[in-house]
């Protein structure tokens, strides 16, 4: 039985129950992530290479509302597709960009790069680029919170591919047994992903037609939401957070999107330039090959469209926010480019904490 094709339900309302300022902040963050990543792809094309990397385009409406449903003291643990969470938690775009370019001023002094950028002081202690690697770690952090009675919860952020790894299965089982306050947020972007056979990045290869059933098999309640529906993500995460905080134990949340076409090949690309805001209200203006994606499958534009429709802001406001984040991103690029590389000697520091 082939899994049912995922397609966002465009009729649904997608604005979460938040004040207007909160709703605008979400949009601001979404656009910041979108512009940051678009710029990054151009940087990569210009060179020099900063190694294999992954962008968060097309998934902003998962991570951003998900993190908005948490408290600042809660911990989140990303995997390789991590830029969106860092920006969403308030990491300085310049320092993130500098990290990606390997500069001294980077979030991690250039040691992490894109794959491992983290921000312990923002509640992002560690990023693992090993598929499945972060899942038990996030759950273990929740165990610590529970034992310390710190009222923190912890969130594991990972892709559908991680559900293929046994480590994830083991973590689900243990989290269920020990009822730790963790949320497993699985971003399923495999719809329309290319397989390795097509020269692209692997789409997930699992016989599970419902990823939540893996979690449920070991007693972890699971829900699935449309990842382009900001409201649905926010609500599911708020409920899961509430359950975790009251020691109701773990929840598995699967958020589905149709993979952004630029994330389809092995190395990210901008198949047809940058996203234009007017694609939200004039979908026909989108480039032919991306028309469907921008019109029906891009959560960001969907969110913007509804904000406009609800008169929470007008097109000029949107353009202003966009121009704001664009300057932030340009400033970030300048900061990163102008920053120095670390001194070669610093390669030998930080192997152990508290020893350099």
């Amino acid at each position: 039985m082939p899994p049912q094709r995922f397609e966002p339900e465009s009729a649904k309302k997608v604005l979460p129950d938040l004040e207007k300022t909160g709703l605008i902040e979400l949009l601001h963050k979404m656009l910041l992530v979108r512009r940051f990543e678009e710029r990054l792809i151009r940087l990569a094309e210009e060179g020099p290479s900063f190694g294999h990397y992954h962008v968060y385009i097309g998934q902003e409406t998962i991570g951003i509302p998900a993190l908005a449903a948490l408290r600042p003291t809660d911990l989140v643990f990303p995997t390789h597709r991590n830029h969106g969470y860092l920006l969403s938690r308030g990491a300085d775009p310049g320092r993130l960009m500098a990290e990606i370019l390997g500069k001294q001023t980077g979030l991690n002094g250039g040691k992490a790069g894109t794959l491992h950028a983290s921000a312990p002081e923002l509640g992002i202690p560690h990023t693992s680029a090993i598929v499945g690697g972060i899942v038990p770690i996030a759950a273990g952090a929740a165990l610590a919170a529970q034992l310390k009675g710190s009222n923190q919860i912890s969130v594991a952020l990972f892709g559908d591919g991680a559900t293929e790894e046994g480590a994830t299965f083991e973590a689900l089982n243990i989290a269920s047994l020990w009822r730790v306050p963790v949320i497993f947020l699985c971003e399923n972007n495999t719809e329309e992903a290319l397989g390795a056979a097509a020269g692209g990045y692997p789409k997930s290869v699992t016989a599970a037609t419902d990823l939540g059933s893996i979690a449920r098999s070991v007693g972890v309640p699971a829900v699935v939401v449309d990842g382009t529906d900001t409201r649905a993500v926010f609500t599911a995460m708020s409920e899961a957070a509430e359950r975790a905080r009251t020691s109701g134990g773990p929840t598995f949340v699967e958020a589905k999107v149709v993979r952004w076409p630029g994330s389809n090949p092995l190395w990210p690309e901008l198949p047809a330039g940058e996203t234009e805001l007017r694609f939200a209200w004039e979908p026909e203006s989108a480039p032919e090959q991306l028309l469907r994606w921008y019109r029906d499958q891009d959560g960001l534009l969907r969110y913007l469209r509804e904000m406009l429709g609800a008169s929470l802001l007008d097109k000029d406001d949107a353009a202003e926010i966009d121009s704001d984040v664009r300057s932030q991103v340009e400033a970030a690029v300048r900061f990163a480019r102008n920053s120095a590389y670390p001194t070669p000697d610093s390669a030998y520091l930080d192997v152990f904490a508290g020893q350099s």
């Binding site: 911990l75 643990f77 980077g106 979030l107 991690n108 002094g109 250039g110 040691k111 992490a112 491992h116 983290s118 312990p120 002081e121 202690p125 560690h126 990023t127 693992s128 090993i130 690697g133 899942v135 038990p136 770690i137 996030a138 759950a139 273990g140 952090a141 929740a142 165990l143 610590a144 919170a145 034992l147 310390k148 923190q152 912890s154 046994g166 480590a167 299965f169 083991e170 973590a171 089982n173 243990i174 047994l177 020990w178 520091l349 930080d350 192997v351 152990f352 904490a353 508290g354 020893q355 350099s356």
Partner: protein, 348 residues
């Protein structure tokens, strides 16, 4: 750097100093119990710390006194080890017990690719205070799949401290250091050490990282050994002494960091080196000690180095075959004797 056997007050007998004679297992459990009591953030995941032998019952008291902080996980090593890593990242001081060393392979990605790298990748901003504990080596009938000594592979992994006590006093003094060090530490025990008896100070002191111990001083040959092979070497030293060969036995105790100075000074003195270790021969602990000596003190060597290790053969079940591969006192003594009798390298 190291204290030699002669510094530690041989004027007084251990008894006079108030030392207690304990088994290794008792000393280990005492250290754990103390840490549990002193540190409310100390968490143990896994509870075969003393192995499968009769001594294991000693651990039950700790388990029963702190049921919330001694957790029995499923047979899911990568999962529960990852839990430990995450708990350490969120401020607990964690000991993950993998029981038989061979099971660390199940957890390897978490040990070598998460815990070991985390501080470095963060740019020194994240501490991971976790101890990975296991029982390594030939245990009698463990056969190929349950007799591993993964510490050489772990030494090839930057970001892990590695401690290998060989006596009750050492394990009593070293476990607290491991837990308090604030960094990922591999703590290597051996099931054959569990019943070994020895004196433990009345008021145990923490033994710092990177300080070797000269378990026996001598002038003829330097033997460097770790973990249970220190006990095997001690026994060889006795035999050799009765033959008039005066062996110096250096126990690095921790290999990361390594007290190179004590090893090199000893070799400089004796000019003869035998390295004994239970890791397999190639790329083992003994290879590294030999390589260091060959780089740093080659000109002091009167004879080539000899390694006494478990050969590059999986561990067989049959007791006859297992002991053929073991680093027995007989093999150690034979190597030392050979170092004394072989032709010296001609030097000016």
């Amino acid at each position: 750097m190291a204290k030699s056997a002669t510094d530690v007050g041989v004027q007084q007998s251990p008894h006079q100093r108030g030392d207690r004679e304990l088994t290794y297992a008792e000393a280990l459990v005492e250290a754990i119990a103390e840490l549990m009591k002193e540190d409310p953030d100390f968490l143990i995941i896994g509870s075969y710390v003393l192995g499968l032998g009769p001594m294991r019952a000693l651990f039950d008291e700790v388990r029963h006194e702190y049921p919330k902080r001694v957790l029995d996980p499923p047979t899911a090593e990568i999962g529960f080890t990852g839990f430990g890593v995450g708990a350490a990242m969120n401020g607990l001081h964690v000991l993950v017990d993998l029981s038989t060393a061979s099971f660390i392979f199940e957890a390897f990605p978490q040990v070598v690719n998460e815990a070991a790298n985390a501080s470095y990748m963060s740019g020194g901003r994240l501490a991971v205070p976790i101890v990975f504990h296991f029982l390594h080596g030939l245990r009698g009938g463990g056969a190929a799949q349950h007799s591993h000594s993964p510490q050489a592979m772990l030494w090839n992994t930057p970001g892990l401290q590695i401690m290998m006590p060989s006596s009750p006093a050492d394990v009593r003094g070293m476990l607290p250091t491991a837990i308090k060090s604030g960094n990922p530490t591999v703590f290597v025990d051996h099931s054959k050490l569990m019943p070994v008896r020895g004196y433990v100070p009345a008021l145990p002191k923490e033994i710092p990282l990177g300080v070797a111990d000269i378990k026996r001083s001598g002038r003829d040959v330097t033997v460097v050994a770790t973990s249970y092979s220190v006990q095997q070497s001690l026994s060889a030293c006795k035999t050799l002494a009765s033959e008039g060969i005066d062996t110096e036995l250096v126990d690095p105790r921790t290999v990361v960091p390594l007290d190179r100075q004590t090893i090199l000074e000893s070799v400089a003195k004796t000019g003869r080196l035998v390295v004994v270790d239970e890791t397999h021969r190639s790329c083992g602990i003994a290879s590294e000690i030999a390589a260091i000596a060959s780089e740093e003190i080659l000109d002091a060597l009167k004879v080539p180095i000899i390694r006494v290790t478990v050969p590059d053969v999986p561990v067989p079940f049959s007791p006859v075959l297992e002991s053929e591969l073991d680093t027995t006192p007989e093999r150690i003594a034979a190597a030392v004797r050979y170092q004394m009798t072989r032709k010296q390298i001609n030097r000016l």
